[in-house]
Amino acid sequence: MVPRLFLILCFAALAATSLVAVGVGTWLISSELPESGQDITDIVIVYGGGMACLLIATIAVLWAYIDYAMGQPLAALVRGIQTVIHANPDHRIEVDDSHQLGGLPQAVGELVGQLAHARNSVSEAIEKATESVEQQKNQLAIVLQDLHEGVIVCNLNHSILLYNNRALELLHIAGEMGLDRSLLSFMSRQPILHALTRLTNRVAEGRHMRHSEGVTVSFVGSTTDGRYILDGRMSLILDSDDAPSGYVISFEDDTEELAALGLRDRLLREATEGLLAPVGNLRAAAEILESAADMTVEEQSAFRQVVLKESKYLSDRLETLSAQYRDVITGSWPMTDIYSPNLLNNIAHRLLEQSNFNAVMTGIPQWLHGDSYTLVELLDRLIRKVGNFAGTNSFELEAAAGERHVYLDVGWKGVVVQASMLSSWLDDQLEETLGGLTLRDVLEHHKTDIWSLPYRDGHARLRLPLPPALRPPTSRDGRSRPSRPEFYDFELLKRPVQLGDLGGRPLKSINYVVFDTETTGLEPSAGDEIISIAGVRVVNGRILTGESFERLVDPKRPIPKDSIRFHGITDEMVKDKPPVQVVLPQFRQFVADSVLVAHNAAFDLKFLKLKESECEVTFDMAVLDTLLLSVYLHDHTTRHTLDDAAQRLGIEIQGRHTALGDSLVTAGVFLKMIDVLEARGVNTLDEAIEASNTIVEVRARQANF
C-alpha cells in the first residue's frame, strides 16, 4: 500500500476512534444526570462537541504535517529511485529540505550516485570493447579483401559467418553469397566434413598440441557442380575452453594448375614413349638401306618409303606436341594483372633515384599480365645498360596495345642496340633474386623476347611484348557508363579567339591539355556542379601520362542518385575534398598556355565558364572538341560518342571510369585525329578551328528546325 494512503487511513481511524470515545463519554454522562440537570447536560454536550472538534482538528493538522514532512518526501524518493532505475541513471533525486526523514534521502542519493557511476563505467567499458571489436573487424575485413586466397569463416553448422570477394570469385558465385547460408551448398560436402572430422578428432584427443600442423589440415575440394577444383586448408577455431566453435577455410582455384600438370604429363609421355616405335622403325630401315648392298630395286624402294613415312610422321607429331607444350602454363610463377602506369612509374622512380636517369611516361595506359617485381628489375637493368651504351640518360616509357600483346616500349635518342649485344645483356643475373635468375629467365617466364628497332627520326627503342591482362577491370565489373547527350552551347564554341602565331602552327607542334569533368547533372545554370576534373598533357604528339591532373571536388550539394551511374562518385567520396574555388585555379595553373581539348567540350567548358568569376580565373584559350572533329571527319555516321570515336580509331578502352581515364582516351583519339586531319588538308590550329566551326553552324541550323 502506498505510504500516504496508509497514513490517511491511520489518521482517519484515530479520528474515528476519538469521536466514538468522546461521543460515548458524553452520552453516558448526560444519561446519568437527573432530569433537573438539563443545564448541566447541555454543558456536557457542548463540551463533548467542542472536544470532538478539537480532537478532529488536531488529528487533521498532525496528519497534514506528517504527510507533508514524511509522506510526500517518501513518495518523491520512491519516484526518484524508479526514475533512476528505469529511465535516467544520472537523475538527481530531489526531496524538499523540510522533510523529517533524517539521513534517508541523502543515503539514498549516495547509493543512487554510486549505482549510476557503476553503470556508466560498465557501459563505457562495453562501448570501448565494441569499438575495438569493430575496429578489429574492419582491419580483418581489409586484410581478407587483399588476400589472394578465398577465405570463408563458418560455425560448426557450416553457416557462413564471414567471407571475402576472392571466395566469391573462386566459387564462381555471382553477387551475394549470403551470410548464414550453408557452405555446403557452394562447396562439395564430403571433403569439408572429412577435414572437419579429422580436426575435431585431433583436438578431442589432444593431439593438436604436438601436431606439426596444429589445428590446420589441407584438403582438395570442389565447387558443388564439380567444375572447379579447389586447393584448400581448414583451421579449427577454438574457444577459451579449447572446444571447437567454428572453422576457417582458405582456398585457391587449382583447376588450371592441375589441368596444366596433367597436360604436361601427357605431352611428356607422348614425346618419349609415343615416339619410340617410329624412331625404331626409322633406324631399322636406315641401317638396312646402308648395309644391304645386294637389295633389289623394289626392296630398296620399300625401305625408302618406310624412312619417308616415319620421318614425316615424327616431324608432324613433334610439331603438334611442341605447339601444345608452348601453351602449357606450369609452375607457380606469380603473375597478376598489372596496370602499366604503376609498373612504369616504379621503373621511372628507380631510374631517377639510383642512376639519375630521367624517364617520361607517355601513351595510353594498358592492362597487362606479368610479374611486376621481375619486370621492374629487367627493364631497370636494361635501360641502365642502354644508357651507358647510347650515352643518354633520358628515356620515354610507353605501353601500347598490339594485336596479341601489350608492348612496353622504351625510347631514347640515339642508335639501336644490336640483337647479339642485347642477347648478351640477358645473361646477367638479377642481383637481389634467389636462384641466380637471369634476365633471360624473366623473359622466358613471360613467354616473350625483346628487341631494339629504330623509331622516329634519330630515335631507337626497346620493345618488350607481354601478355595482355587476363581480366582487365572494365570487363571485370562489366560496368559501362552511358554517354552524356551531345551538348552544344554555340556561343561558347564560336567565340572568337585571339590566337596570334599559335593559329598558324602545325597541330602536332602545339601543347595541349586534354581534359574531362564529371558533374552532378547536365544543367550548370540550374545548380549542377563539378565533382571531378582531370586532364593530361599532350606535347609534341605524345601523351605525357606522368603529367596529369586529377581532383575530386566537393560540390557543396548532394549528388543526385541518377547521376551516379554516369560517374560512380558518391557523396561520401567528395566529403573531405576541396571546393571548386580551390581546384579550378589549380587546374588553370596546370593548363597554363596550352590549348584545351575535350570530347563534347562545350559541356565541360560551360561549367568552367560559369565558375570563372567566383574562382577568379579565366578560360579564354583556344578549345578543340573531338566530338566536332569526329563529325567533321566521319560525316557518314551519327555515332560520335567517345566510345564510338575510340573504337573507330583503334584506341583500346581500358579503365574508363574516371575523368582521368576519359581524358586519356580522348587524348588518344585526338592524336589519331590529327593524322586524319592532316590527310584531309587540315594542318594548323586555325584550320582545325575553322573545320569545327563549320560543324557548329550545321548543327546550329539543324537545332533551329
Binding site: A323, R326, H405, V416, A419, S420, S423, K447, L453
Partner: protein
C-alpha cells in the same frame, strides 16, 4: 645468271639437304656456318636470298638480319628465317628485325623449295 642463295646454318645434316635441293633447282648456293661468316659472305657478294637459321654461333640470326637491314644497299635481299622457335613472339621479332618470311622447323623440303623458287622467279 643464276640467282644466288646463301644458306646460313651450323648443322651439317640440314646443310647437306638444303645445298643439294637448291643446287638442283638451279641456284648458285653458298654456305655460311656462323653469323660472322654469313656477313662476310654478303659483304663479298650480296645474294638474292638468304636461308637464315636463328640459332647459329657468334652473331645469331636476328643480329645478322638486323645488320643486313641496316645497310640500304642490301635492302633487296630476301631473307627467310628458319627456326625451331615457333612462338608468336619469335615470329614477330624476326619480322620486326627485317625478315621477309619465317619458317619453323621441322619443315617440308618440298614446300621450302617451292617457296624459294616462287620468290626468286617473281623477282625477275
Amino acid at each position: 645468271m643464276a640467282k644466288s642463295i646463301l644458306v646460313v646454318e651450323d648443322e651439317p645434316n640440314i646443310v647437306l639437304s638444303l645445298q643439294f635441293l637448291m643446287k638442283k633447282a638451279g641456284f648458285d648456293v653458298r654456305v655460311a656456318r656462323d653469323g660472322e661468316e654469313a656477313l662476310a659472305a654478303v659483304e663479298e657478294r650480296a645474294p638474292d636470298l638468304i636461308l637464315l637459321d636463328v640459332m647459329i654461333p657468334k652473331r645469331d640470326g636476328y643480329d645478322v638480319c638486323q645488320t643486313i637491314r641496316s645497310n640500304p644497299d642490301w635492302s633487296g635481299i630476301f631473307i627467310i628465317m628458319l627456326t625451331a622457335k615457333g612462338r608468336d613472339v619469335d615470329r614477330e621479332k624476326g619480322i620486326a628485325l627485317g625478315a621477309n618470311d619465317y619458317v619453323t622447323k621441322p619443315f617440308s623440303t618440298r614446300d621450302l623449295t617451292e617457296m624459294v623458287k616462287k620468290i626468286l622467279d617473281s623477282s625477275g
